[in-house]
């Protein structure tokens, strides 16, 4: 018991500090001042502390970390300039009116049911091409991603668009931002949200809109196709929603975002 108390007091002292001058450690200071067991132990512990302290600093900082942080902070600063909104779930219904676009963030959770009904009604008016396939979706999504002017976004961790949830096949990454999307692929009335995904320098945009029942698989493909202009897209549908993931980069980037794809 004596040893434990002695060690506790010695372990409380930082090497090279004036900690021994603290009133609680005054008895220890007296013991350490003279040669003996306490002093020997004090020096041994100090040697360990210095060695451990130095080793703790030996951590390689990943390249590009500061750039990624600054990019994320810049996105956050764009977000905080938006109008105030309850920080929880929010429901978005597809709409083409410009007034709704301006006010989309003001919709509250309590409108979820009404919004869903409105969404179903609007779905019927889409001018959707009946021959739209995974390949045409891929091409049109790439074109849309290249030309769109993104709206300001919100942080997913604070505010979730419950009508357009993140796919269960996509990793939920910290710092993910979502934003509204209108007339996706220039299809009038095809509105939803886009998630901006980032992971270790890889970036991707996941568009989520109501599915018109096109012929696309229920899960994302195992591999990303050949990029066009540095981007490639894949599409799948689940729970009545069409998911289109536009990846900036190669298959390696794609694998950063998608959970265990199961189909080729």
């Amino acid at each position: 018991m004596q040893d434990r108390h002695l060690l506790e007091r010695i372990d409380a002292c930082r090497p090279g500090s004036a900690d021994l001058q603290e009133p609680e450690l005054a008895p220890l200071a007296g013991e350490v001042a003279v040669a003996g067991e306490a002093r020997e132990l004090y020096e041994r512990v100090g040697a360990w502390d210095r060695a451990i302290g130095e080793a703790l600093e030996e951590v390689r900082v990943p390249g590009g970390l500061s750039d990624r942080l600054l990019a994320r902070l810049a996105a956050e600063q764009a977000v905080v300039s938006l109008p105030a909104c309850a920080e929880s779930d929010v429901s978005l219904a597809p709409s083409t009116s410009s007034a709704t676009r301006r006010n989309w963030l003001r919709w509250s959770i309590g409108l979820a049911a009404a919004a869903s009904i409105a969404a179903a009604a609007v779905m019927g008016s889409w001018l959707w091409q009946p021959t739209l396939t995974a390949e045409t979706i891929r091409e049109q999504a790439l074109l849309f991603a290249q030309q769109e002017q993104p709206h300001p976004g919100r942080i997913l961790a604070k505010l979730r668009p419950i009508d357009y949830p993140l796919s269960r096949h996509i990793y939920r990454l910290p710092g993910t931002i979502w934003r509204p999307v209108y007339d996706f692929m220039d299809q009038g009335g095809l509105n939803g949200v886009a998630y901006e995904l980032m992971f270790r320098g890889s970036t991707a945009t996941l568009y989520v809109v109501p599915s018109p029942g096109v012929d696309v698989p229920p899960v994302p493909p195992a591999r990303l196709g050949t990029p066009t202009g540095g981007r490639s897209a894949v599409a799948w549908q689940e729970s009545g929603l069409l998911y289109v993931l536009v990846v900036h980069g190669s298959d390696r980037d794609y694998q950063s975002f998608v959970k265990r794809p199961t189909t080729a």
Binding site: D49, R50, A51, I52, V59, L65
Partner: protein, 181 residues
């Protein structure tokens, strides 16, 4: 204008402190991915609460505190290990008096990973933040005796694990199963 100044400040904070924050976060979390997330969350909090810091000299301490609290918050739902499950012994110290041991960084991390979060935080505040036991007690709102006990037990564990032929001090089976990974 104010927003512009705020952005300049946060940019400087990233430039000045991101590396040391990452090292701290890595030692706390034991994972490069979690460490980067922790640093990101820390700066996001900093961006929102930058006006709380009165002095530029206090930025690093403040960022450390934000990071530490973010880490602890993420650990709250995980199993906690009681201090009584740990034993310390003077036999765990090396025999050398003057020669400091060669500490391997990865072995050190493995030893840190075995510590419960509340012990890991205390020992890293001591080593990484260079906080005194009194400052740790104030920061964590803990009694001095608790801080001294946790600090000593955590340090003893590190010393034991970093000494190859020291099999005596082992956490109990319960501790091993409950360790935070």
């Amino acid at each position: 204008m104010a927003e512009h100044e705020s952005r300049a400040d946060i940019t400087q904070l990233v430039a000045d402190h991101h590396a040391v924050l990452y090292r701290y976060a890595y030692r706390l979390s034991g994972s490069p991915v979690d460490a980067e997330d922790l640093v990101q969350q820390t700066y996001l909090t900093a961006l929102r609460k930058l006006d709380q810091v009165q002095s530029a000299n206090a930025f690093r301490s403040w960022l450390f505190a934000v990071l530490r609290n973010t880490y602890l918050k993420s650990c709250r739902k995980r199993a906690l290990v009681h201090a009584a499950d740990w034993e310390i012994s003077l036999e765990n110290l090396p025999e050398e008096v003057r020669e400091p041991p060669r500490v391997d960084s990865q072995e050190l991390q493995a030893a840190l990973d075995e510590l419960p979060a509340e012990f890991r935080v205390v020992v890293l505040m001591f080593y990484f933040e260079h906080r005194s036991y009194k400052e740790i007690a104030v920061e964590l709102d803990l009694p001095l005796g608790t801080v001294m006990s946790r600090l000593s037990r955590a340090k003893s564990h590190l010393r034991m694990r970093l000494t190859a032929d020291e099999p005596e001090l082992r956490p109990t089976d319960n501790v091993r199963h409950a360790r935070i990974i």
